[in-house]
Structure formats: structure tokens, C-alpha cells
């Protein structure tokens, strides 16, 4: 029974992994894989139902939806990965420094985090875009600035707890320098929960990029991006609901795939479970 359910779990992780790999492939090689030019307007063929030429049909300007989805993967997922890398980097360095050093530096860095945490994410993002102007880079910056403090806080909390462990004391007594202690003994305990959190947030951040683009603040039309596509299709929702469904489905699938992958990653990083499987 247990074996069956664990096989099931790893099966679903494999599916999620394949799906995520597919999305990454689309993001990398999108323009080569797209069957049509995603920007080619053909007003004679607008609102076509799915057919053999346009597998997912065409939008209100006669552009091929499948091609736009494929090319849009790069913008949406690429920006999310950049956001994630920056947020994790900032969170780990600020939170790690605050937790390891402690004292006044800790207090100072945490008050800085509080400043960012007191302003609601979306309001901060809107403010940043208002100050910096619209565009994908500014959207990325806005999302990073409104999210890093959460990660810094979580990392600091984990570090504070881990650094009181006996094995950290043992490493100190053995003469290990602080940076080595952080990398060898503290970081391995921080990464699994952080990886789970980050993969959960991939979906959240994709929705942010899509959402800000949907409001017309991020990626500008006619660049294909999933949020922009939903925004474009909104006007025709009651007559052509499929135009909203396709990019919505792409976002949902990507979010699901990365979430499941995150769960699998967390399990994979836990040595107790590795030993159960391996020995």
C-alpha cells in the first residue's frame, strides 16, 4: 500500500517534471517551434475555431494562438525565473547574513525588511511601475522588490534555528570558519523548505507578471505573453471563451507542474526518505 502510493507520487513527479521540461524547452526554443509567425495579423481569418492549419484557432486579429502561446512561454516563464533567482539570491544573502551575524546588523536588516513588508505587494509593484515606467524589466524589478523581504525573513528564521544546533557548535569547535559553517551546515537545512516555497511561488509570480501585463503595465501588445493574451481576449469572453481558456490553461499547467516538481524536490532532498528508498 505504502509502496504503491509512493510509486504513484514519484509517477506524478515524473509527469510534472516532463511537463516543466516541456515548458522550459518552449521558453528556450519557442520561435523555432512555432508553426506560424505569432505577430502576423490576418483579419480575414479572425476568430477561427481550432482547425488543421491553426490547431488552437486564431484570435481577434487572426493571429495563430498556438504560436503566440509557444513564443509567449519565454516572456512569462523567463521573467518568472529571473524574478525567482533575484529573490532567492537577495533573500539568502540578507537573511543569511542577518541570521549568522545577529546583533545590530540583524536588527537593521530586519527593519529594512519590515519597510518592504508593510506595503502590500501589489501596491508596491504599482508604485514601482509608476515611478520607473511600464515594461517587462520594471515589472520584474517591482516583483523582486515586493517579494525579497519575505524570503529574507524566512531564511533568517531558519538560520537562527539551525545555528543553535550542536553540530554547528561542533563545527565551530573543529575550527571551521563562519562562511564554511554557513555553506556546509546551515544552508543544507535552509534549502529544502526554501525550494518548496520557491516552487509554490513560481505560480504566484507567473500570475503577478501576467496580472501586471493584463493591467497593461508590463509587457506591451503585440508582444505575445500569456497575461497579455488573456487581456486581449477579455473583450470577447462571452462570444469566444476559448481565447481566454488557452492562455489560462497554459498558466495553470505551468503552475501545477512547478508546484508538483517542488514537492518532489523537497522529498528528494530529505536523506531520511533517500535512505528508505535506497537501502
Amino acid at each position: 500500500m505504502i509502496a504503491a502510493s509512493s510509486a504513484n507520487r514519484s509517477g506524478s513527479v515524473a509527469v510534472a517534471g516532463a511537463l516543466a521540461a516541456g515548458f522550459v524547452l518552449l521558453a528556450l526554443a519557442g520561435p523555432l517551434l512555432a508553426p506560424h509567425d505569432p505577430l502576423a495579423v490576418d483579419l480575414a481569418r479572425r476568430f477561427e475555431a481550432p482547425n488543421l492549419v491553426h490547431l488552437l484557432g486564431t484570435d481577434h486579429l487572426g493571429r495563430d494562438i498556438l504560436s503566440r502561446l509557444i513564443v509567449g512561454a519565454r516572456t512569462t516563464l523567463g521573467s518568472v525565473l529571473v524574478v525567482l533567482a533575484l529573490v532567492l539570491g537577495l533573500g539568502l544573502s540578507v537573511g543569511g547574513l542577518a541570521g549568522m551575524v545577529g546583533g545590530r546588523l540583524d536588527a537593521g536588516l530586519m527593519r529594512l525588511c519590515d519597510v518592504f513588508l508593510t506595503v502590500p505587494t501589489f501596491v508596491l509593484a504599482l508604485f514601482m511601475i509608476g515611478a520607473l515606467g511600464t515594461g517587462l524589466v520594471n515589472v520584474v524589478m517591482a516583483i523582486v522588490l515586493s517579494h525579497w523581504a519575505w524570503y529574507a525573513r524566512i531564511v533568517r528564521g531558519l538560520v537562527l534555528e539551525l545555528k543553535t544546533r550542536d553540530y554547528v557548535l561542533a563545527a565551530r569547535i573543529a575550527g571551521a570558519p563562519p562562511l564554511a559553517i554557513f555553506v556546509e551546515h546551515v544552508l543544507p537545512g535552509v534549502v529544502p523548505p526554501l525550494a518548496a516555497l520557491a516552487t509554490l511561488d513560481i505560480g504566484h509570480m507567473a500570475l503577478h507578471v501576467a496580472g501586471l501585463s493584463f493591467l497593461g503595465l508590463g509587457v506591451q501588445p503585440p508582444t505575445p505573453e500569456w497575461g497579455v493574451m488573456i487581456n486581449d481576449a477579455r473583450a470577447f469572453f462571452w462570444t469566444r471563451p476559448l481565447l481566454v481558456v488557452w492562455p489560462g490553461l497554459a498558466i495553470a499547467l505551468a503552475v501545477l507542474a512547478f508546484n508538483r516538481l517542488g514537492d518532489g524536490l523537497r522529498d528528494r532532498l530529505d536523506p531520511t526518505l533517500i535512505a528508505e528508498r535506497g537501502l
Binding site: R165, D166, Y167, L169, A170, R172, I173, A174, G175, A176, A180, E184, H185, P188, G189, P271, T272, A275, L279
Partner: protein
């Protein structure tokens, strides 16, 4: 030599040859906040310790007498909320910085082997984590010296897959790998069952003889002292009240604190001792 010891790595060879590790006047205090402000509370007051290579010094005393804090002060790894207020460390008569001694001149064995290992790393991972340390051959040699050499799988085990006794052996092996001439063992057998205790004590005694280690063993168990120690320092309320060779301490205890410890020990072990005589 003192300035050179501060730089640690440079004079590793000299540190490895050291014969006497001496702590003078170690003092530790904490503080409590009253309406008048902070008020210092002394925890360790002017403790002197002499650890010589090839010899076992036992530091005994009741719980809370400051034994572990004195060791932590020696290595400068005091817990938060306490601070060292005095004392200096001398290595062969030259003043040394505790941070430069850790892992070079002094290795340590902690009380609870279960928590002293990173649960996310294998035993071999612990042994080879520092690139400056010797590699797998030295590791195999150290594991063999502590009796873990028979099973080739040991380096690939995670801490939770090993027994407490095995873990304590592995910790001693890691301490040996540093090739430090001095070893501080803070209650190394407290978390172990009686059989494992006896084996670990035999192992430590053997290492002191075979390798000429200088061992400082902290314990509240006079059985451990009788079995292992050459000299004994008795602590009470943060002070060392009596230092004597082990045999004379058991035969003619001078201080009330020592007599109390001995009385408690004999009360606990009276029955087995009588049986052994009969």
C-alpha cells in the same frame, strides 16, 4: 611564538608538537537586569587547568558547578548570554588565541553524539568536509583506530542510521583526524548505555597511551575518573577547590565538595562493590 600561533595554520607543525596546554584564571559571567541596571553574575571564577600530553585530567563537580562553561571558555565557544571576563590560554608557555587553537591544537568530543552530527550529511561527508584536512586514507585510518574500520559502509551512513556508541566513536575519529595533541571531551559517555560507555572509555584510555594525547575529560561520574584519570580537578560553584592525583583524591579527599561527591558515588555503587569484594 604567541604571535605565530595566532596565525594558526602557518605553524601547524609547531602546534602539533605542543606538550602543555594551560588555562589561567578563566572567568565567565552572565548578568541579570535589576532596577539598578545590569548586575554581573559570576559563573566561573579564576579556573586554572593544566593539560599535558599523554595524561588524562578529569574535571569533576556537581551539575551547575561550571565544568562545561570552563571548557567552553577554554575554546571560546561560550553560549549566548555569557561572556569571558578574564583568563588566558598558554600553549607551551606562549599565549594563544582560542580561535586559533580550535581544531588545530585542541579537538573536542561533545556530550550528545546524536545531535552533534549534521543530519543531512553522511559520516564520510563530515570527515572530508574541510579541504585542509587529510583525505580518505586518513579517514580510514582514524575509523580503524576507533573500531569502526571493519565495516566499509560506515562513511556512507547518515547519523540517524547509526547507534549512539557508533556515533561517539565516529566523533572521536573526526577529532583524531585533526591530529590535534589535545582532546577535550565534555561528558562523552553520558548519553550512552553502560556497555557503550565502557568501550568508549577504554578507547579513550588506549588513544591517550598509544598516541600521547592530552585528554581533558569533563564528568560527574567518579567511576569514569577512577577508570581513566591521572589527575582530578574538583569544581564547586565556579571554582576549582581541589586538584590531586586520582589515587590520592580517592584515598584522602581534603575538601567537603570532594567528600560529598565520593559519598554520593559510594552510596550509588555500594552494593555492586560489596559483591565484587565477596
Amino acid at each position: 611564538m604567541s604571535a605565530k600561533v595566532l596565525q594558526g595554520k602557518v605553524l601547524q607543525a609547531e602546534v602539533l608538537q605542543a606538550k602543555i596546554l594551560r588555562a589561567e584564571g578563566l572567568s565567565v559571567e552572565t548578568w541579570r537586569t535589576t532596577w539598578r541596571g545590569r548586575e554581573p553574575v559570576p559563573l566561573v571564577r579564576g579556573v586554572d587547568l593544566d593539560i599535558r600530553t599523554g595524561e588524562v585530567l578529569a574535571l569533576v563537580g556537581a551539575s551547575g558547578s561550571g565544568k562545561s562553561l570552563a571548557c567552553a571558555a577554554l575554546l571560546d565557544v561560550l553560549p549566548p548570554g555569557t561572556r569571558r571576563t578574564g583568563g588566558r590560554i598558554l600553549l607551551d608557555g606562549a599565549q594563544a588565541e582560542p580561535a586559533a587553537l580550535r581544531g588545530r591544537a585542541v579537538a573536542s568530543v561533545l556530550q550528545a553524539p546524536r545531535t552533534a552530527f549534521n543530519p543531512l550529511r553522511t559520516i564520510g561527508g563530515h570527515a572530508t568536509e574541510d579541504p585542509g584536512k587529510p583525505g580518505r586514507i586518513a579517514m580510514a585510518e582514524a575509523f580503524a583506530a576507533v573500531g569502526l574500520g571493519d565495516d566499509p559502509r560506515v562513511p556512507d551512513l547518515y547519523p540517524f542510521q547509526m547507534s549512539g556508541g557508533m556515533l561517539q566513536r565516529a566523533m572521536i575519529a573526526l577529532a583524531l583526524m585533526s591530529r590535534a595533541p589535545f582532546l577535550v571531551a565534555d561528558e562523552p559517555t553520558t548519553d550512552l548505555d553502560l556497555v557503550a560507555q565502557a568501550r568508549i572509555l577504554d578507547l579513550l584510555a588506549g588513544l591517550v597511551r598509544a598516541r600521547g594525547l592530552g585528554l581533558l575529560i569533563v564528568t560527574h561520574d567518579l567511576g569514569v575518573v577512577a577508570r581513566l584519570a591521572d589527575r582530578v580537578a574538583v569544581m564547586e560553584a565556579g571554582r576549582i577547590v581541589e586538584t590531586a592525583p586520582a589515587a590520592s583524591l580517592f584515598a584522602t579527599p581534603r575538601e567537603p565538595a570532594t567528600r560529598a561527591l565520593l559519598a554520593a558515588h559510594r552510596a550509588l555503587h555500594a552494593v555492586p562493590a560489596a559483591e565484587a569484594v565477596a
